[in-house]
């Protein structure tokens, strides 16, 4: 990961401070602006985040306001980098920091030192999680595709009495001819098999499907 870019790009960040208007918020805003980021404050909590916000500093207390959950409670994928502003370090506050899945914490009384480091560390963690999320999604996709292809292979093997290798060759050449992926072709074969199977005697198809499932070793057939 290009971590040096995190430092270089710090000044391009748009930062939002969600904190009651007081000296802490003022101090924090001033330091963020001194660092050179675009910073704005919003309080009370807005219904939704303004578009294009990269980093959000948010006050975290022992009670979690309802609005906070709507803003950050969902999936973390599309969420900006989140930095908690904590007044106390007691377990209730810490628990809320964990539940919000903040990327870093700054503590009150706020001091100028550490704000820049927190932003940088939070960005690193945030980037890493985005990268990991993406990788997991890609791997999930890959596993599903392998599943589909092997299911399609077994359908072809059963229908045409051919070997696994021959079945795969058919799927691949179809994919090449139609300029698509083997997974797409496999899906099409699975779909067709399902429809054709329904037209003939249902009972037999169910049995066959069961056999196919046993043969592939997978329980789920998504067709």
């Amino acid at each position: 990961m290009a971590t040096s870019n995190i430092i270089r790009d710090v000044r391009a960040l748009r930062v939002l401070v969600l904190h009651p208007q007081d000296t802490h918020a003022e101090e924090l805003l001033q330091q963020i602006r001194r660092i050179g980021c675009r910073a704005e404050a919003s309080w009370p909590l807005p219904g939704s985040l303004p578009a294009g916000v990269d980093v959000v500093f948010v006050e975290v207390k022992e009670t979690m306001p309802k609005g906070l959950d709507t803003l950050f409670g969902g999936e973390t994928q599309d969420r900006p980098t989140l930095i908690g502003v904590a007044g106390y370090e007691n377990p209730s506050v810490l628990q809320n920091l964990l539940e919000l899945k903040v990327d870093a914490v700054v503590t009150k009384p706020l001091r100028p030192y550490g704000v820049l480091s927190s932003i940088v560390m939070a960005r690193r963690i945030w980037q890493e999680f985005r990268a990991v999320d993406k990788q997991i999604a890609q791997l999930k996709d890959k596993v599903q595709n392998i599943q589909k292809v092997s299911q399609a292979k077994f359908i072809l093997m059963r229908l045409h009495q051919i070997t696994e290798e021959e079945a795969y060759k058919i799927i691949r050449s179809q994919a090449m001819a139609k300029r698509t992926t083997t997974a797409e072709i496999a899906q099409a074969i699975i779909n067709a098999d399902g429809i054709l199977g329904n037209i003939s005697t249902k009972k037999i198809i169910y049995e066959n499907n069961d056999n196919a499932n046993k043969a592939t070793g997978y329980d789920e057939v998504d067709s």
Binding site: I7, R8, V10, R11, Q30, Q31, R33, R34, I35, G36, P112, Y113, L116
Partner: protein, 390 residues
């Protein structure tokens, strides 16, 4: 300096090393601060009360700065301190100043990335000196640079900034070396060997302290005066040039907000008084000038507040302006650093700095600039008109 305090004086702490590796420059800063204090006192003090400096010598030992700052605040009861040259010493003093909510004046260029509400910074940060210097060198000498610096935070960060700017301008860093603060001829021998082998277009030096004089002298010995690449620096100053001699200094370059031979009424007055007080102007440097105008800025603030309370003084200082020897300066209310002039000067055969280029207006300090832009219009330099100052 006596420790006897008159009851009605405004006591301030002075923390510059009179001895040790950084004593040349810190003595210069000490003189600047002292001169300003004496000027103010001669003019009747502030609200009829003189400013009384309480001075300690940390002897260039980093940990001593913290101890003596503590002593100034706790035992001597001062609330305002002027002092420090190296960043490492400032970092020693900072937590003590903050804990007691005192006010600290730091009259030295440094690497930036700091802000404390309790500090007034009046030296240049990289956007005020590195960027103009880099553009000047690229334009006049070429793109192959060699970096040599003392081994502590300022040179390393300063080199990071310089490397970034040079890359933007198509330049490259062909070598980079760090030496100890006390580096002598032996330590520089291998550096000079490398410089000879690599034949860079310019050497960017962040060597500070006594190492500076040793380096320029060793470079003189090792190379042909007429063919050598210039040493460019942000710190090498009049005091060090006086020590190393004109021959070792000739042809080298420094970027700074102030040089001794700036022609202005404020500078003439300053030099005249300095000469009268110390018998020479050889020790006048940009850091000396910074210490001098900081004391005046403080005195003006004190005149307004009439008390030494930190919060009141800070309010009075933010946005405050002063006709310094370098020209008009102003404390930036956004970050407590100072709007400063930027000049590039070359040393002539007599060892005098000749200002070649300067920016038209004081540059706003930007202590958190990660990647300075080489082509920022703010840093555009204009050649000096012959015989005319600002």
């Amino acid at each position: 300096m006596g420790r006897l305090r008159s009851a009605d004086a405004w006591a301030v702490g002075i923390l510059f090393s009179r001895t040790g590796v950084t004593s040349v420059i810190e003595n210069s800063q000490f003189n600047g601060a002292l001169l300003a204090i004496e000027e103010i006192n001669e003019a009747g003090g502030i609200h009829g009360r003189p400013i009384e400096p309480i001075c300690y010598d940390p002897a260039s030992v980093v940990s001593r700065y913290g101890e003596l700052a503590e002593r100034l605040l706790a035992e001597d009861g001062v609330n305002v301190i002027f002092g420090c040259y190296m960043s490492s010493t400032r970092k020693e003093v900072l937590p003590i100043i903050e804990r007691r909510n005192a006010l600290f004046f730091y009259p030295t260029l440094y690497e930036g990335f700091e802000y404390s509400a309790n500090v007034i910074y009046s030296g240049a940060v990289p956007n005020q000196n590195s960027v103009p210097l880099a553009s000047y060198l690229l334009e006049n000498y070429g793109g192959r640079f060699y970096f040599v610096g003392s081994d502590y935070i300022y040179p390393r960060e300063s080199n990071r900034v310089m490397r970034n700017i040079l890359r933007q301008g198509g330049g490259e860093v062909v070598g980079e070396r760090y030496v100890s603060l006390e580096a002598g001829a032996e330590e520089f021998a291998s550096v000079l060997g490398e410089i000879e082998a690599l034949a860079p277009d310019a050497i960017f030096s962040t060597v500070v302290g006594t190492g500076t004089v040793n380096f320029y002298r060793a470079y003189l010995k090792a190379t042909n005066v007429h063919k050598r690449a210039p040493i460019a620096s942000l710190t090498t100053n009049e005091a060090e040039v006086a020590e190393m001699g004109a021959e070792a200094a000739a042809g080298h370059i420094t970027a700074a907000p102030y040089f001794r031979n700036i022609k202005s009424a404020a500078n003439s007055r300053f030099l005249e008084r300095y000469h009268k007080r110390f018998g020479t102007v050889d020790t006048v440097t940009s850091c000396c000038e910074a210490a001098y105008f900081q004391v005046h800025l403080f005195a003006n603030a004190l005149r307004l507040t009439g008390c030494m309370d930190t919060d009141h003084l800070r309010e009075a200082l933010r946005g405050a302006e002063f006709d310094a020897p370098q020209g008009r300066v102003k404390i930036d209310p956004d970050n407590n650093h100072t709007y400063l002039h930027s000049r590039i000067a070359k040393l002539d055969e007599q060892g005098e700095f000749v200002v070649e280029l300067e920016v038209r207006r004081p540059i706003k300090p930007d202590p958190y600039l990660v990647v300075p832009a080489l082509n920022d219009w703010n840093f555009r330099l204009t050649p000096m008109k012959q015989g005319l100052g600002n």
